[in-house]
Point group: C2
Protein backbone atom coordinates (compact mmCIF):
# COMPACT_ATOMS: atom_id res chain seq x y z
CA UNK A 1 0.00 0.00 0.00
CA UNK A 2 1.67 3.17 -1.21
CA UNK A 3 1.40 6.17 1.02
CA UNK A 4 0.14 9.43 -0.30
CA UNK A 5 0.80 12.83 1.05
CA UNK A 6 -2.36 14.66 2.01
CA UNK A 7 -3.23 17.85 3.83
CA UNK A 8 -4.71 15.86 6.71
CA UNK A 9 -1.55 13.84 7.22
CA UNK A 10 0.68 16.86 6.96
CA UNK A 11 -1.38 18.83 9.40
CA UNK A 12 -1.50 16.06 11.99
CA UNK A 13 2.17 15.29 11.59
CA UNK A 14 3.10 18.90 11.96
CA UNK A 15 0.93 19.33 15.01
CA UNK A 16 2.39 16.30 16.73
CA UNK A 17 5.94 17.28 15.90
CA UNK A 18 5.51 20.84 16.97
CA UNK A 19 3.66 20.10 20.19
CA UNK A 20 6.32 17.76 21.46
CA UNK A 21 3.73 16.00 23.57
CA UNK A 22 1.42 13.06 23.29
CA UNK A 23 -1.96 14.18 22.06
CA UNK A 24 -5.31 12.50 22.11
CA UNK A 25 -7.53 12.39 19.10
CA UNK A 26 -9.82 15.10 20.40
CA UNK A 27 -6.95 17.41 21.24
CA UNK A 28 -5.66 16.95 17.73
CA UNK A 29 -9.04 17.60 16.18
CA UNK A 30 -9.39 20.71 18.30
CA UNK A 31 -5.96 22.12 17.61
CA UNK A 32 -5.83 21.39 13.93
CA UNK A 33 -5.98 24.42 11.64
CA UNK A 34 -8.01 22.63 9.03
CA UNK A 35 -11.16 20.62 9.48
CA UNK A 36 -10.51 16.91 9.37
CA UNK A 37 -13.06 14.22 9.97
CA UNK A 38 -12.74 12.19 13.15
CA UNK A 39 -12.45 8.92 11.30
CA UNK A 40 -9.76 10.34 9.09
CA UNK A 41 -7.74 11.52 12.05
CA UNK A 42 -7.90 8.08 13.56
CA UNK A 43 -6.89 6.49 10.30
CA UNK A 44 -3.98 8.87 9.89
CA UNK A 45 -2.81 8.24 13.43
CA UNK A 46 -3.07 4.50 13.09
CA UNK A 47 -1.09 4.70 9.90
CA UNK A 48 1.62 6.73 11.60
CA UNK A 49 1.89 4.06 14.26
CA UNK A 50 2.01 1.33 11.66
CA UNK A 51 4.79 3.14 9.87
CA UNK A 52 6.50 3.77 13.20
CA UNK A 53 6.43 7.48 12.68
CA UNK A 54 4.52 7.89 15.92
CA UNK A 55 3.83 5.75 18.93
CA UNK A 56 0.68 5.18 20.86
CA UNK A 57 0.21 5.40 24.62
CA UNK A 58 -2.92 4.44 26.48
CA UNK A 59 -3.40 6.49 29.60
CA UNK A 60 -5.35 5.74 32.74
CA UNK A 61 -8.34 7.47 31.25
CA UNK A 62 -8.46 4.65 28.71
CA UNK A 63 -7.76 7.03 25.88
CA UNK A 64 -5.11 6.72 23.23
CA UNK A 65 -2.47 9.39 22.95
CA UNK A 66 -0.07 9.74 20.08
CA UNK A 67 3.42 11.12 20.14
CA UNK A 68 6.41 11.66 17.96
CA UNK A 69 9.52 11.86 19.98
CA UNK A 70 12.81 12.42 18.23
CA UNK A 71 14.76 10.80 21.01
CA UNK A 72 13.24 7.43 20.33
CA UNK A 73 13.54 7.77 16.58
CA UNK A 74 16.10 5.00 16.17
CA UNK A 75 13.56 2.49 17.30
CA UNK A 76 15.30 0.17 19.68
CA UNK A 77 14.09 -3.38 19.99
CA UNK A 78 12.45 -2.46 23.25
CA UNK A 79 11.78 1.14 22.69
CA UNK A 80 10.09 1.89 25.96
CA UNK A 81 10.20 4.97 28.03
CA UNK A 82 8.01 6.36 30.74
CA UNK A 83 5.28 8.81 30.01
CA UNK A 84 4.09 11.43 32.35
CA UNK A 85 0.55 12.59 32.58
CA UNK A 86 0.07 15.85 34.41
CA UNK A 87 -3.35 16.05 35.97
CA UNK A 88 -3.03 19.79 36.26
CA UNK A 89 -2.27 20.81 32.70
CA UNK A 90 -3.70 17.59 31.32
CA UNK A 91 -0.87 16.77 28.99
CA UNK A 92 1.16 13.67 28.44
CA UNK A 93 4.81 13.88 27.64
CA UNK A 94 7.49 11.37 26.89
CA UNK A 95 10.12 11.20 29.58
CA UNK A 96 13.57 10.19 28.47
CA UNK A 97 13.60 7.58 31.18
CA UNK A 98 13.82 3.97 30.08
CA UNK A 99 11.45 1.48 31.59
CA UNK A 100 13.55 -1.07 33.43
CA UNK A 101 12.34 -4.42 34.57
CA UNK A 102 13.39 -8.01 34.89
CA UNK A 103 10.52 -10.34 34.23
CA UNK A 104 10.45 -13.92 35.51
CA UNK A 105 11.85 -16.68 33.34
CA UNK A 106 9.72 -17.63 30.41
CA UNK A 107 8.11 -14.25 30.03
CA UNK A 108 8.56 -12.53 26.71
CA UNK A 109 7.94 -8.81 26.70
CA UNK A 110 6.97 -7.31 23.39
CA UNK A 111 5.68 -3.99 24.46
CA UNK A 112 5.36 -1.71 27.45
CA UNK A 113 2.80 0.93 28.27
CA UNK A 114 3.94 2.93 31.27
CA UNK A 115 2.34 6.13 32.39
CA UNK A 116 3.17 7.99 35.56
CA UNK A 117 0.59 10.42 36.79
CA UNK A 118 0.95 13.49 38.95
CA UNK A 119 1.93 17.09 38.46
CA UNK A 120 4.74 18.24 36.22
CA UNK A 121 7.40 20.78 37.06
CA UNK A 122 5.58 23.51 35.19
CA UNK A 123 2.52 23.04 37.38
CA UNK A 124 4.19 22.29 40.71
Amino acid sequence: MNRRNTPAKEAVLHLLAQSGKALSHDAIERELDIDVNRATIYRVLNQFCEDEIAHRIVAEDGKQYFAICKKCEPHEVVHHHFHFRCVSCDTIECLQIPVQYAVPDGYDVRHANCVLTGTCNACA
Copy 2:
Protein backbone atom coordinates in the same frame (compact mmCIF):
# COMPACT_ATOMS: atom_id res chain seq x y z
CA MET B 1 -21.29 6.19 53.77
CA ASN B 2 -21.65 2.84 55.50
CA ARG B 3 -20.88 -0.24 53.50
CA ARG B 4 -23.30 -3.11 53.33
CA ASN B 5 -22.55 -6.67 52.62
CA THR B 6 -24.38 -7.97 49.57
CA PRO B 7 -24.31 -11.08 47.44
CA ALA B 8 -22.95 -9.11 44.50
CA LYS B 9 -20.04 -7.73 46.48
CA GLU B 10 -19.21 -11.06 48.01
CA ALA B 11 -19.29 -12.82 44.68
CA VAL B 12 -17.07 -10.28 42.95
CA LEU B 13 -14.65 -10.15 45.86
CA HIS B 14 -14.42 -13.90 45.98
CA LEU B 15 -13.86 -14.17 42.26
CA LEU B 16 -11.11 -11.58 42.27
CA ALA B 17 -9.40 -13.13 45.28
CA GLN B 18 -9.60 -16.63 43.96
CA SER B 19 -8.51 -15.83 40.41
CA GLY B 20 -5.34 -14.11 41.52
CA LYS B 21 -5.36 -12.08 38.33
CA ALA B 22 -6.61 -8.77 37.13
CA LEU B 23 -10.01 -9.16 35.57
CA SER B 24 -12.00 -6.92 33.31
CA HIS B 25 -15.62 -6.15 33.92
CA ASP B 26 -16.81 -8.49 31.20
CA ALA B 27 -14.65 -11.36 32.44
CA ILE B 28 -16.11 -10.85 35.88
CA GLU B 29 -19.65 -10.76 34.58
CA ARG B 30 -19.00 -13.92 32.61
CA GLU B 31 -17.36 -15.87 35.39
CA LEU B 32 -19.69 -14.86 38.16
CA ASP B 33 -21.91 -17.64 39.49
CA ILE B 34 -24.81 -15.32 40.04
CA ASP B 35 -26.32 -12.80 37.67
CA VAL B 36 -25.29 -9.28 38.49
CA ASN B 37 -26.15 -6.24 36.45
CA ARG B 38 -23.34 -4.57 34.54
CA ALA B 39 -23.84 -1.25 36.27
CA THR B 40 -23.75 -2.95 39.63
CA ILE B 41 -20.50 -4.71 38.86
CA TYR B 42 -18.93 -1.42 37.92
CA ARG B 43 -20.22 0.21 41.07
CA VAL B 44 -18.92 -2.62 43.20
CA LEU B 45 -15.52 -2.49 41.53
CA ASN B 46 -15.28 1.25 41.87
CA GLN B 47 -16.15 0.95 45.51
CA PHE B 48 -13.46 -1.66 46.05
CA CYS B 49 -10.94 0.70 44.53
CA GLU B 50 -12.19 3.55 46.65
CA ASP B 51 -11.83 1.41 49.74
CA GLU B 52 -8.44 0.23 48.54
CA ILE B 53 -9.53 -3.36 48.59
CA ALA B 54 -8.66 -3.68 44.91
CA HIS B 55 -6.65 -1.68 42.44
CA ARG B 56 -7.37 -0.73 38.90
CA ILE B 57 -5.12 -1.13 35.88
CA VAL B 58 -5.83 0.23 32.45
CA ALA B 59 -4.35 -1.92 29.73
CA GLU B 60 -3.41 -1.07 26.18
CA ASP B 61 -6.83 -2.12 25.04
CA GLY B 62 -8.16 0.84 26.98
CA LYS B 63 -10.09 -1.39 29.31
CA GLN B 64 -10.03 -1.36 33.07
CA TYR B 65 -8.86 -4.42 34.92
CA PHE B 66 -9.28 -4.99 38.61
CA ALA B 67 -7.07 -6.97 40.91
CA ILE B 68 -6.63 -7.87 44.51
CA CYS B 69 -3.06 -8.78 45.23
CA LYS B 70 -2.08 -9.80 48.71
CA LYS B 71 1.49 -8.76 48.21
CA CYS B 72 0.55 -5.13 47.91
CA GLU B 73 -1.89 -5.25 50.76
CA PRO B 74 0.15 -2.96 53.03
CA HIS B 75 -0.39 -0.12 50.65
CA GLU B 76 2.89 1.65 50.32
CA VAL B 77 2.91 5.32 49.52
CA VAL B 78 3.88 4.46 45.99
CA HIS B 79 2.37 1.07 45.65
CA HIS B 80 3.34 0.40 42.07
CA HIS B 81 4.28 -2.80 40.45
CA PHE B 82 4.39 -3.97 36.88
CA HIS B 83 1.53 -5.82 35.33
CA PHE B 84 1.85 -8.38 32.63
CA ARG B 85 -0.67 -8.87 29.93
CA CYS B 86 -0.34 -12.12 28.05
CA VAL B 87 -1.68 -11.80 24.53
CA SER B 88 -1.94 -15.54 24.28
CA CYS B 89 -4.06 -16.40 27.30
CA ASP B 90 -5.43 -12.89 27.51
CA THR B 91 -4.94 -12.42 31.21
CA ILE B 92 -3.32 -9.71 33.24
CA GLU B 93 -1.37 -10.54 36.32
CA CYS B 94 0.42 -8.50 38.91
CA LEU B 95 4.17 -9.01 38.82
CA GLN B 96 5.98 -8.56 42.09
CA ILE B 97 8.36 -6.22 40.36
CA PRO B 98 8.42 -2.65 41.57
CA VAL B 99 8.28 0.13 39.04
CA GLN B 100 11.48 2.11 39.34
CA TYR B 101 12.04 5.52 37.94
CA ALA B 102 13.64 8.82 38.71
CA VAL B 103 11.62 11.67 37.38
CA PRO B 104 13.08 15.10 36.69
CA ASP B 105 13.04 17.71 39.42
CA GLY B 106 9.69 19.23 40.11
CA TYR B 107 7.71 16.25 39.00
CA ASP B 108 5.42 14.73 41.57
CA VAL B 109 4.30 11.20 40.87
CA ARG B 110 1.04 10.17 42.42
CA HIS B 111 0.29 7.05 40.53
CA ALA B 112 1.73 4.64 38.00
CA ASN B 113 0.05 2.48 35.44
CA CYS B 114 2.54 0.09 33.93
CA VAL B 115 1.62 -2.84 31.78
CA LEU B 116 4.06 -5.05 29.95
CA THR B 117 2.67 -7.06 27.10
CA GLY B 118 3.85 -10.30 25.57
CA THR B 119 3.55 -13.97 26.36
CA CYS B 120 3.73 -15.43 29.82
CA ASN B 121 5.70 -18.48 30.86
CA ALA B 122 2.65 -20.69 30.74
CA CYS B 123 2.11 -19.81 27.08
CA ALA B 124 5.71 -19.62 25.92
